[in-house]
Symmetry: C2
Subunit: 712 residues, 2 copies
């Protein structure tokens, strides 16, 4: 799966613009897939050499047919395979022997049909890899490139030429979008049906589309991203070069079940996708409509300098609806400069609104609209403009469209979108705007969604990760840490004992409370006297997760006799509470003064690796769920700071209601150390520090309870 990084920058160029294509399984019979593919290639005006391959035919669709790849008169760069599954291995073997570089395996009957198919798919992949070929599919619709041009698919149609690359894990979604795009006039650069993604995945095609020189935005429909780390690396390398918008299905739990039964894919937890996409600057579309509205915005509009939107409208109500949408989608209403307001006040009637939303009111003609739009568009406090129009009986929509198109040329760096409300009366003007590269919608909310996508991507560009701020922590004893983990492994334990966890923390420079394990009451007293009273006693058992539930934690023990009594009570209580739990003894801890209770943790996502968590700690963690997440891989100090500052705990740390501020720097430092630990030791499956006490500025933090679980 990490193949993407092995081959050169244009590693898939030949797949989309091959010198020659063979269609293996080409057929004379209309309705057969092998017929449709050949016909599509011919109809797309593909300019390279084209070889139908079918041992039972001499000629198909006016082209000479060849009995085998070997019989083709020239080299074959791309082979499209549409023979029945049992015949595929021999064809692929042939391809390999005859120097074919790229395969599109249309044939179904692999992973998607169960265990037997999965075995077949593994064998197929091994064969492909043996010959160093690259394969799209199996079980796909094929691929298309409107710039080559080449339609190597059995889809019913070929998209209009455009700048949107579309990758889809579902062939049906591909086909439906293609059909829909033709009816609304939307153009594409590439169309890829990913199929089972046995060899090439969305990661490879995202990279190719970002480098092809004509795709301005990359859209994906995916149900999983199996190679999460390759995905993150690829997207990081693309950076802010090409916007990527993904509709990731299977977000709901039931959705995830449907995803697994459909594709056999192991769907990652949806949270990890949200976190990964956010961190990588990938925009996640929530609906199919949003996916395409964002695509339209990215292919036609520049990125705005910021998130301040101005509205020009000829009616108040729709302006208010748009204002609501602007705030709901995280954009800001621009504040117009005094100059702009004065200009508007001079020219517009007194009942107009000179502030944002600028309302030229219902009796406005196109001159008044033009005047307002010109001044608003030129305003330095405005980053993008939404032009709204109603009442086509009073104002000519075509003239307004013309004015928008003309004025927009004077300010090409600002995004402009339109919402012309109505039906047939605004249809021609809507088409005129769209043809001139200004998205125009029939309801205001979609126009605002389009603008918000642009602003979100601009915000990502601004916070583009800086490699020199990638987390690197100092004063770390890696060998010591490795020895602790190895020790537990040797004992076949997956949960570290409290003293091991504490030692692991110390090895990574994370302050922990002084503590020790006592197997008898006398040892407990000795530890208490070593640390100094008061102390805390806690049951030490890998099976007992919620120690407070049965009184397994005793606080504020002041004397040796209190420690002795507590020791026996805890051990007895634990035996009654969970009779089969292994009780290693009782942990004795110095009783620390109370700080702000935080939680830090790590879990491991099957696709994206360690997932770092931070938030408000203590017993209310599950109740309040005030937590933030990041992927540890590639995380920067900015990300760590952001994950602290986006929680409610941050308000406490800064000093809440007159309390002094806490040591935020120490919190961030420790969170970075946890991230480094999780990345450097993949054997750590889960880690929880809860609570971590944060003290006043300069006084640091202290981990009170640490739980470390190793992978099985």
């Amino acid at each position: 799966m990490a193949q993407a990084s092995q081959s050169g920058p244009s590693h898939l160029r030949g797949m989309f613009a091959p010198q020659s294509v063979a269609v293996v399984g080409a057929s004379r019979s209309q309705g057969k897939i092998g017929h449709s593919i050949l016909k599509n290639i011919i109809d797309s005006a593909y300019g390279g050499a084209l070889y139908p391959v079918n041992p039972r035919e001499d000629e198909i669709l006016g082209r000479r047919s060849y009995p085998s790849l070997a019989a083709c008169p020239g080299p074959v760069e791309l082979a499209v395979i549409a023979v029945p599954a049992p015949a595929v291995p021999a064809v692929v073997e042939d391809c390999g022997r005859h120097g074919v570089r790229y395969l599109v395996v249309i044939t179904a009957g692999y992973k998607e049909v169960g265990t037997e198919g999965l075995t077949r798919e593994k064998d197929l992949l091994a064969l492909v890899r043996r010959y160093g070929m690259k394969m799209l599919g199996p079980n796909c619709l094929g691929l298309m490139d409107t710039h080559t041009p080449l339609n190597a698919s059995f889809a019913a149609g070929f998209p209009l030429k455009g700048e949107i690359a579309f990758l889809s894990q579902s062939g049906a979604v591909c086909a439906a979008i293609l059909d829909w795009s033709l009816s609304v006039g939307l153009g594409f650069s590439k169309f890829v049906s990913l199929g089972n993604k046995a060899d090439l995945t969305e990661v490879d095609f995202i990279r190719e589309a970002a480098e092809d020189g004509y795709s301005k935005v990359i859209l994906c429909y995916v149900e999983d991203v199996v190679d999460g780390q390759g995905f993150m690396d690829t997207v990081a390398a693309i950076g802010a070069g090409t916007p990527i918008v993904i509709l990731k299905a299977g977000a709901s739990q039931a959705g995830a079940r449907a995803a697994s039964s459909h594709t056999g894919a192991l769907a990652g937890s949806d949270l990890a996708y949200d976190v990964a996409f956010h961190q990588a600057g990938v925009l996640r579309a929530r609906t199919m409509e949003e996916l395409f509205d964002l695509a339209i915005a990215f292919t036609t509009q520049p990125l705005p300098a910021g998130d301040r939107v101005a509205i020009v409208t000829n009616s108040g109500g729709p302006g208010i609806i748009a204002t609501d949408a602007i705030e709901a989608r995280g954009l800001k209403m621009a504040e117009l400069t005094r100059e702009t307001v004065e200009h508007l006040r001079q020219e517009l009637p007194p009942t107009a609104s000179f502030y944002n939303p600028v309302d030229v009111i219902g009796d406005a003609d196109d001159h008044r609209y033009d005047f307002a739009f010109r001044h608003v568009l030129a305003d330095p406090g405005v980053d993008s403009v939404l032009c709204m129009l109603t009442r086509p009986a009073v104002i000519d929509p075509m003239l307004v469209a013309g004015s928008i198109i003309a004025r927009r040329r004077e300010h090409p760096a600002k995004p402009v979108v339109a919402a012309f409300l109505g039906g047939d009366n605004v249809a021609a003007a809507t088409r005129e705007l769209i043809a001139a590269g200004i998205p125009c919608f029939n309801f205001p909310e979609r126009a605002v969604t389009a603008l918000s996508g642009l602003a979100r991507f601009q915000a990502f560009r601004r916070r583009a990760p800086r490699a020199d701020r990638t987390i690197a922590v100092e004063g770390v004893d890696r060998e010591g840490a490795a020895a602790i983990l190895a020790g537990a492994r040797e004992d076949r334990r997956v949960v570290l004992l409290a003293d091991e966890s504490a030692a692991l923390m110390r090895a990574y420079g994370i302050p922990v409370v002084p503590s020790g394990l006592a197997t008898g009451a006398e040892q407990a007293v000795a530890l208490a006297e070593q640390f100094g009273y008061p102390v805390v006693l806690k049951v030490a058992s890998p099976q007992i997760l919620h120690k407070t539930d049965f009184g397994g934690v005793r606080l504020n023990l002041e004397t040796s006799s209190e420690v002795t009594d507590a020791f026996f009570e805890i051990v007895d209580g634990a035996r009654r509470y969970q009779p089969r739990a292994a009780i290693h003894g009782v942990e004795v801890q110095k009783m620390m003064r109370v700080g702000i209770e935080l939680i830090m943790g790590v879990s491991r996502d099957v696709h994206f690796g360690p997932l770092l968590m931070f938030g408000l700690g203590g017993i209310y963690v599950n109740l309040l769920k005030d937590v933030s997440f990041r992927l540890a891989r590639g995380a920067t100090w900015e990300e760590i700071e952001a994950m602290v500052s986006e929680t409610k705990a941050y308000a406490l740390l800064r000093g809440y209601r007159g309390k002094p501020p806490a040591d935020v720097d120490a919190v961030i430092d420790v969170l970075g150390r946890v991230a480094a630990l999780a990345q450097e030791f993949p054997g750590i499956a889960e880690l929880d520090i809860n609570p971590l006490f944060a003290y006043e500025r300069g006084e640091g933090v202290c981990a009170l309870d640490v739980k470390v679980t190793l992978s099985e």
Copy 2:
């Protein structure tokens, strides 16, 4: 504004179906509003008597014109007035004298143009009321009724006949929706442009539409609901009879500003609208598209028995997208019965999915689709069905549409919606379904939104408020409470002193901590000894809001000397902290043992009256914002219970992590008492109990700190 309840059930019937209409200001000149109105009435085939009124014309549009109302040959039931604003009063006076019952004042130049216009509007209203007439407007587009039929407006067009009543505070939104509806073929029963709502408001028209016998759903676009209480009463009376869907604009703060500058309306806080709509069972649409998708669902589909949705699809990807949408919108994926699964397993190919979403897979023909749909629709575990179709090249969409229409007749009680993905290839089948009353969309998410609206309304029907559970509290000393409030008023104080607040609570049976006001240290010690140590001392000053910020609260005082010291320290601290604050003394409280910290409160919304709040209390209230709201007016015990159970605090009250459960009954009882107090004394502007300690079951609750503010 509360006129709605004064006149009989069909109080506006004559406005929509008058025996006779006069158009005052009718004009021969095309392009004039008075021309358009007359032409619209004629074109709508209105069957009653029609009198153009214009002193300068004898005939307009082939109708005889009359110089005045008095000159009309018969009585006039409805007058549509389109004369310039200065001429309106004389016309209205004339109408009143000649027995006109209903007025539509199209003329603008009233509240929307500022102070002068507002005065004009008040005078107009007084005139209308003097003659007992009812007026729509001023500053509106007019009204339409497709069943009468009557188009008494100057809109460019007349809607198709249908069952959707549409009311809009914005004339531009009216016009745009009308135009759009004609291009998509959506029908309406009534169309009302509310204008300035000087006399009749959305409340009156909602009531009329609910009773007209042909409107199946009521849609509103509003920027405010001025008569919040009339709205709640009217909607409560309609109950679950007719669904009401509202797009309330001005939700954002900036939106609210735009609303006020546009209509001069005092926009209520958006939270109050959310709470009111929820409580009244009104569905709030978040976008214009959603408003109409819900309308289509309500006019064509029955209500589902529950929220369990099944999907039938011929491709996996779109099924997963729909599954995500179902969960995201609060619906549930139906679990098919074993019988259904077995039927599907017998007939469908082995690679199909026999569970929900049921995937008949890509090679299915219409017979297989029909088989699956038939069994899924008949499944008793399925409340509604979403039919999805892709790949129109393999399966004939028209045949599938036919099967859906036919099978659906066998199960008329279950909602069925469709999403046929694609463009021109599915267009004919989509039209076929829509014509047969089955909503069909081109993306799955909108279909799910439509289903979710039906299920939400059904859930409201189920929880329809029971009048016998309306809050009535016992053991209340209303006269005592009134005397306390009157005392503060006499002193011209708007914030009650601590002892007054405590007495008010006691008058309403709300337990409060024993406390008293000490003006000297000796009195503080005397009170402490009366209550018993330990005690708490707090500064008593109406100006100091956050007492903990400067040490104005001292806990756990055990002796008389501690009390004495604390007294002087608090007074000195308060003087330094806020030198100009009036310090009434120090409040001495018994130190209560700690319970679960809750907050209860009341604020007062300008439109909807007292707004009740409940949530997690203590100093983190503002940080965690774990609160729920209800309108106190008409609240039932069910609502009070619901507002407790929907907070995170409820998890604590039920006994969190091994703690014993708290006295939830006492919490609910006290919250009901707060609601009753707020309703019975409108002079209470704000009330905060924070914290209220909740103790273990049977041990009740105790208010620790109570703040009551009166309206100015």
